[in-house]
């Protein structure tokens, strides 16, 4: 495990497994870049702090000739607990400055903003596509009908995730080129304090997540794993839901769609055949509708998630759990997000649990994973190895059956014709002999 200082850098160089299109890709990770040295970057005397992790994902392959630009683009990735936990993935336009400086992130704007109500944007992107996701609220609801879906009729207890205090991020560098950032937030309820854990991961190559549901990942996306471990409950039939805010500058479509894609393959996520997606034309948020109820789950250690309708964000409304504006977060401070008409900005709930699956207290542990990225969302299909197995398992018996059928046909028809012909020859011979005798 590697703990980063205020500004640290790690360089990973791995090989993509995309065969002919393999490029070396590096992940440059820095914590609190651009933070004025004279400040504590918002850290409190108790040790809590807003966290900002910046990752530059670059292809390091040498183009075949100087005139050809590298076809594998660079990505900028931001993880933040400045307010509600947020991830941002952007594609860096060719020739743009790849560093995050004080010009991009106005540290003093939010460091001096003790009321968490910034008067002006504090994050300026560089152009290019971006997709962002904020986890704005954790909603505990009393699921009296045991249907696993939060609605206005449920009694609720809201954790506003823009307000908790966050411990300093812990970064880990995995051997397969993955970088994890673990963010722990302190939830306080009735004098009881518990941690909410959010693990964000970036990838240097096409791969799968190490933990279930083993989703496909690419360098152009970030995974966010939310862990609700041993949280206190306020109702007899408590279940939890997350309120998510999705933002993107999808060029061709400002309306995000919620879709459910079915797949026959559950090879890497046993028992889960669907992927849910909120997306435009070239950005996406996607997840498998499964919530694991154990840290090392089997098929039975899981329940389902349910997604609400997508709702537009209205900036001017109040902030109760059924209708809200933008919470204090990196997305809220993003310049032009709400003033540019071509941007997509929606919110929706994902509830954990299904009909008659017990309640949160049954396991006291729930874990859910979501991916946020740009470009085409990875689609799970039947793997090559499984296709080979199918080909061998079906092909060999089929070939043998064909040979057997031909042999059987020969035995039944070929041989009998041969015998008929032999009989005819014998008969002819007999006649001939008879004639010769007569002569």
């Amino acid at each position: 495990m590697l703990r980063f200082g205020l500004v640290s850098l790690v360089f990973l160089q791995v090989f993509s497994n995309d065969g002919a299109e393999a490029y070396e890709r590096s992940l440059n990770v820095s914590v609190d870049p651009g933070c004025p040295e004279a400040t504590t970057c918002g850290a409190t005397s108790e040790g809590y702090r807003p966290n900002l992790v910046y990752i530059l994902s670059q292809s390091t392959a040498t183009p075949p000739s100087p005139s050809v630009s590298n076809p594998d683009p660079s990505y900028r990735i931001l993880w933040s607990t400045i307010g509600a936990p947020t991830v941002l993935v952007t594609e860096a336009p060719a020739g743009s400055d790849l560093h995050l400086t004080s010009d991009n992130l106005k540290w003093m704007e939010f460091i001096e903003d003790s009321k968490h109500d910034p008067s002006s944007p504090f994050l300026f992107l560089w152009g290019g596509r971006f997709a962002g996701l904020t986890i704005s609220k954790l909603i505990e609801f009393n699921d009296t009908k045991s249907i696993g879906k939060v609605s206005d009729s449920n009694a609720t207890f809201i954790y506003d995730l823009s307000s908790p205090t966050w411990y300093p991020v812990t970064l880990t560098n995995e051997p397969n080129g993955r970088v994890d950032g673990t963010f722990k937030g302190l939830l306080t309820s009735g004098g009881v304090q518990r941690n909410l854990t959010v693990i964000m991961s970036a990838f240097s190559t096409n791969d799968r997540t190490a933990m279930p549901p083993h989703m496909l990942v690419t360098p152009s996306l970030v995974t966010v794993r939310v862990i609700l471990d041993n949280l206190p409950v306020h109702f007899e039939r408590s279940k939890f839901a997350l309120e998510l805010i999705y933002a993107s500058n999808d060029a061709s479509n400002t309306t995000a769609n919620h879709s459910v894609e079915r797949s026959t393959s559950d090879q890497y996520s046993p028992g889960v055949f669907t992927v849910e997606r909120v997306s435009g034309s070239d950005t996406f948020v996607q997840w498998r509708p499964v919530v694991y109820t154990s840290a090392n789950p089997g098929v039975s250690d899981s329940t389902r998630s349910t997604t609400s309708d997508l709702l537009n964000i209205t900036m001017d409304v109040d902030r109760n759990h059924t209708d809200t504006g933008m919470p204090y977060s990196l997305l809220q401070g993003l310049a032009g997000l709400t003033t540019t008409n071509s941007n997509t900005l929606v919110r929706f709930n994902v509830s954990f649990g299904e009909n008659n699956d017990g309640y949160y207290n049954t396991s006291k542990y729930q874990e859910w994973l979501v991916e946020v990225g740009i470009g085409r969302a990875p689609h799970d299909t039947v793997t090559k190895s499984l296709k080979w197995v199918i080909a061998v398992a079906l092909g060999i018996p089929a070939a043998l059956l064909l040979v057997g059928a031909l042999y059987a046909a020969y035995v039944k028809f070929g041989r009998s014709r041969l015998e008929d012909r032999t009989l005819l020859v014998k008969e002819t011979t007999t006649v001939t002999n008879y004639d010769s005798v007569n002569q």
Binding site: S265, D266, Q267, Y268, V299, N356, V389, L394, G404
Partner: protein, 505 residues
């Protein structure tokens, strides 16, 4: 429970003695006078026996699939993985790998069919209630032990029931009785699939977790009490019939184990065993895991998933007698078998690789299962001699149980590690092995001029010819010549010209 069994045993013994005392003076008269409804030779008496034979298996089949009906409840309440859950089926099958060899022998030579049925029915009852107790006290190992004991009785009770069926209906309506017995058994399976979960949900309003699960299983076990009651009634009726009719010989179903016969078995028997293992291991473990599969892949409600999961058995309950009747009329068992396996491969393919309405694939599977059950098992009687039937069926059941024991664990592990698509591929692979074995059997049978692919008329002609030759041999043996071959002395019949025992179709 043992006290209750002992009381019932004493009751049966007393009833038998009383009946014997009353009936003894009338034995001679009973043979000559017209039979009434209470006479063992009467239709009414035989119908009662038929009903009891069918109902004896009912409880066994009902409780066998209790874990399947309550799959998610067992996994959640007992906190076990799919692999551990599938052990409940595996532990049923393991003892039968060995016990099937000896169960028939035990029944034939030692305790007889009546006490055999009572004993093995008792083991089922005790095993199931230990299983339920394990759930009630939240001890999964106790549940496993219960299923093991349940397994000790399960297949052997089937042997005893078959013995009753053969004893009572051989030569009259045995196929129909077997078909009806299977149908009623499958009704037990279907009822289990459709009642246990609602029962659990009803009890869950008052009880929760493993307590609720245990109580549900306790209530489910009442079907075994009914079955055990039937074994006592059957014992009493059979004893009474034996005394009144005084048959010259009593043959207990031919389930005799004769190890010497094994070396004489033709290859075709082992190919039939391979078909049996490949096919049934792609059906029973699939049904055991089907409930969660239907819910997760097709989004079916638990009620509809239960209905679907029991559809194979439902169709079998109706289709087995019908298809058995059809196959009895057409013959060509091996073509029916190959068709059944092929249809099942397509059905698994549809379930694995498409989102076509699962009722289509499962219905196909149900028809194919009935087709195979009606065509495969009678083939044994066509490839081995009559006195070897018991041993042959014993081997087949043992190998089948070995397959089920092993592949139940494998199937559970596959689901946990690689999901249902890989499981379907695995089942298709097993079915391909089964299909390949069937193709080899077809070729082998063609080569040796066997009976497996003959029409009924051809089979009848063959049987008539063999009878004629057998009679001829007997005649010739009277004037036969003694031949010494390689140290062995044999008697070779002398055939007249053009009467050599060479038959070909």
């Amino acid at each position: 429970m043992p006290d209750a069994l002992a009381d019932q045993d004493r009751l049966v013994a007393n009833m038998e003695q009383d009946e014997e005392d009353r009936a003894a003076p009338d034995d001679a008269a009973s043979v000559t006078t017209p039979v009434g409804c209470c006479h063992p030779a009467g239709t009414g008496y035989r119908m009662v026996v038929l009903a009891l034979v069918c109902l004896t298996s009912f409880g066994s089949y009902f409780c066998y699939d209790n874990p399947s009906a309550l799959e998610s409840e067992i996994k959640n309440d007992m906190d076990v993985s799919t692999g551990q859950y599938m052990l409940l089926y595996s532990l049923y099958s393991w003892p039968n790998v060995v016990v099937c060899f000896f169960g028939g022998f035990f029944i034939d030579r030692i305790i007889g069919v009546r006490w055999g049925a009572i004993l093995f029915g008792g083991l089922l009852l005790i095993g199931h209630y230990i299983f339920a107790l394990g759930a009630f006290v939240n001890r999964f190992w106790v549940m496993q032990m219960g299923r093991f004991i349940f397994g000790l009785g399960g297949e052997n009770l089937a042997v005893a029931v078959n013995a009753y069926a053969v004893n009572w209906f051989k030569g009259s309506a045995l196929n129909l009785v077997m078909g009806l017995s299977l149908s009623v058994s499958r009704v037990g399976s279907v009822l289990n699939m459709n009642t246990m979960k609602p029962l659990y949900n009803q009890l869950a309003k008052t009880y929760s977790g493993y307590t609720c699960l245990g109580l549900t299983l306790f209530i489910g076990g009442t079907t075994l009490i009914l079955s055990q009651f039937c074994t006592f009634q059957l014992a009493w009726l059979d004893k009474r019939a034996k005394r009144i009719l005084k048959p010259a010989t009593v043959v207990a179903a031919g389930e005799k184990i004769s190890f010497r016969d094994i070396k004489d078995f033709p290859w075709s028997l082992y190919l039939i065993c391979a078909i049996c293992v490949g096919y049934y291991t792609a059906i029973f473990p699939f049904i055991s895991l089907g409930l969660v599969f239907y819910e997760s892949k097709y989004g079916l409600s638990p009620q509809r998933a239960m209905l679907l999961n029991s559809l194979v058995y439902t169709i079998s309950a109706v289709g087995s007698p019908i298809l058995g009747f059809l196959i009895d009329r057409t013959g060509r068992n091996i073509i029916w078998t190959i068709s059944a396996i092929s249809i099942t491969i397509v059905a698994h393919g549809i379930l694995g690789f498409t989102f076509v309405n699962p009722f289509v694939a499962v219905s196909m599977m149900g028809v194919a299962y009935s087709m195979l059950a009606s065509s495969l098992w009678p083939m044994v009687a066509l490839v081995v001699k009559e006195h070897q039937l018991g041993t042959a069926y014993g081997i087949m059941q043992a190998v089948q149980n070995l397959g089920l024991a092993v592949f139940a664990i494998v199937a559970g592990t596959i689901v946990d590690k690689a999901g249902y698509l890989v499981l379907e591929v695995f089942f298709i692979g097993l079915l391909c092995v089964s299909l390949l074995s069937a193709a080899m059997l077809y070729l082998y049978d063609s080569k040796v001029n066997g009976l497996l692919n003959l029409s009924v008329l051809q089979q009848k002609a063959r049987f008539d010819e063999e009878k004629r030759l057998a009679a001829l041999r007997e005649d010739n043996l009277v004037n036969g010549q003694t031949v010494v071959t390689e140290g062995k002395t044999t008697i070779e019949p002398v055939y007249p010209d053009n009467e050599a025992p060479r038959i070909s179709f």
